[in-house]
């Protein structure tokens, strides 16, 4: 088994999953923010002055989220690559027979552990601002992304297990 290539593959696939996760979340946020703010604008502005501000607000919102999303994607490349390599190692350690059901369990535990590590890092940086004391901030920056991260790690684990079986 060529472990170097597999480590690289795991890192590459992990990075791809992470970027896709960031983009998917960003698109949901983008459309939610545009729709919600547009509803506000629609209710306030007279019809003759509405279209300019609706377009300007919508595209500014979309552009801002896109820029944030690209910045987050750069960070997530590293996080995804590390997660991919860790996932590969734990799958080989705890599931050497490469059972499909066990792969889901191991991936889920790895995802929970990594989410916990991520939370600790965020807590060190942001303290009480990343707790339910600031519910919107906590949900937006940690809880929802953690759910996407969990799904991506489990999906990645299933795929990685199949790749390892194929060797």
């Amino acid at each position: 088994m060529n472990t170097n290539i597999l480590n690289k593959t795991a890192a590459y696939n992990g990075a791809l999953f992470a970027v896709a996760g960031v983009f998917a979340y960003s698109l949901v946020v983008m459309f939610y923010a545009i729709i919600r703010s547009s509803a506000v604008i629609y209710s306030i502005m007279p019809s003759s002055e509405r279209s300019t501000i609706l377009f300007a607000n919508g595209f500014s919102m979309a552009y801002s989220v896109a820029v944030f999303s690209l910045l987050m994607a750069i960070v997530s490349i590293f996080a995804g690559a590390v997660a991919g390599v860790i996932l590969r190692k734990v799958l080989l350690w705890f599931n050497p027979q490469l059972h499909a059901a066990k792969a889901i369990l191991v991936s889920s535990i790895a995802a929970l552990f990594l989410s916990g590590v991520l939370y600790l890092l965020l807590y060190i940086l942001l303290k009480e601002r990343i707790t339910f004391q600031y519910a919107e901030t906590f949900l937006f920056w940690y809880v929802y992304p953690a759910v996407i991260f969990f799904v991506a790690v489990v999906a990645g684990g299933i795929k990685l297990n199949k790749q390892l079986q194929a060797i």
Binding site: N13, L16, F17, V19, A20, F23, A24, L27, A33, R36, S37, A39, V40, I41, S43, I44, M45, E49, T52, I53, F55, A56, N57, F59, S60, M61, A62, Y63, S64, A66, V67, F68, S69, L70, L126, R129, Y134, E136, T137, F140, W141, K159
Partner: protein, 212 residues
């Protein structure tokens, strides 16, 4: 993995289109949204604080209310006062702990030069630089100016100078690439929020609830 790669590729393409539309069509409009050429050129109280290496925007909105009805909402601006009348749900994604007051609060009706106004809880703040009841309110170089159209209508004109960016390409990139569109969203939201509250007795409760 092909589907994942395709999704990333099309998202990047989508972002590129958004950026193109923003820079070609939207940015030139939002920098002076609603403001006439005369309003963009007019002198404002805090202009003396605006140095030449800043990017300046001037925006304006019609409000169907006299200045005296608009002023109380401007007077209580600030996170540590009555909020910014903008999209609080966006501000709170960044731990601003923003709450927009839905009533006029008497103890916040006498802003004075030198008073501290917070943008978010424990975050950046600015001092009130110039203030004239029913006339203008400036936080540093950022001015909210009221101009009467007639007895029942007024213009709210808002001038905002960026941080000093013109001589620093990194700051300029940060300002133009991210801060400026976000500031436009929040500032236009604030202007519409003030308009909504000042005109409130002419609108029904269903419309009002969005900015509560």
């Amino acid at each position: 993995m092909k589907q994942v790669k395709r999704f990333i590729k099309y998202t990047l393409l989508f972002y590129a289109v958004i950026a193109l539309v923003y820079w070609v069509f939207i940015r030139p409009v939002h920098i002076s949204w609603g403001a006439t050429a005369a309003e963009q050129q007019m002198k404002m109280p805090a202009d003396e604080l605006i140095t030449s290496n800043r990017i300046v925007s001037t925006r304006a909105i019609n409000i169907k209310a006299p200045k005296e009805k608009i002023w109380p909402w401007i007077a209580q601006t600030g996170q540590n006062r009555g909020g910014f009348n903008s999209y609080y749900w966006l501000e709170n994604l960044f731990a601003a702990n923003m709450h927009n007051a839905d009533t006029i609060v008497p103890q916040w009706q006498n802003p004075l030069p030198g008073d501290t106004v917070y943008y978010g809880e424990g975050e950046g703040y600015e001092l009130i630089s110039f203030v004239k009841p029913n006339g203008y309110y400036s936080l540093g170089g950022w001015t909210l100016y009221l101009d009467s159209i007639d007895a029942d209508k007024a213009r709210l004109i808002v001038r905002y100078p960026s941080m000093e960016v013109k001589q620093n390409w990194l700051m300029k990139m940060y300002y133009s690439g991210l801060f400026e569109p976000l500031h436009f969203i929040m500032e236009s939201g604030m202007m519409m929020g003030i308009k909504q509250k000042a005109e409130r007795n002419k609108m029904d409760d269903y419309e009002y609830k969005y900015f509560k």
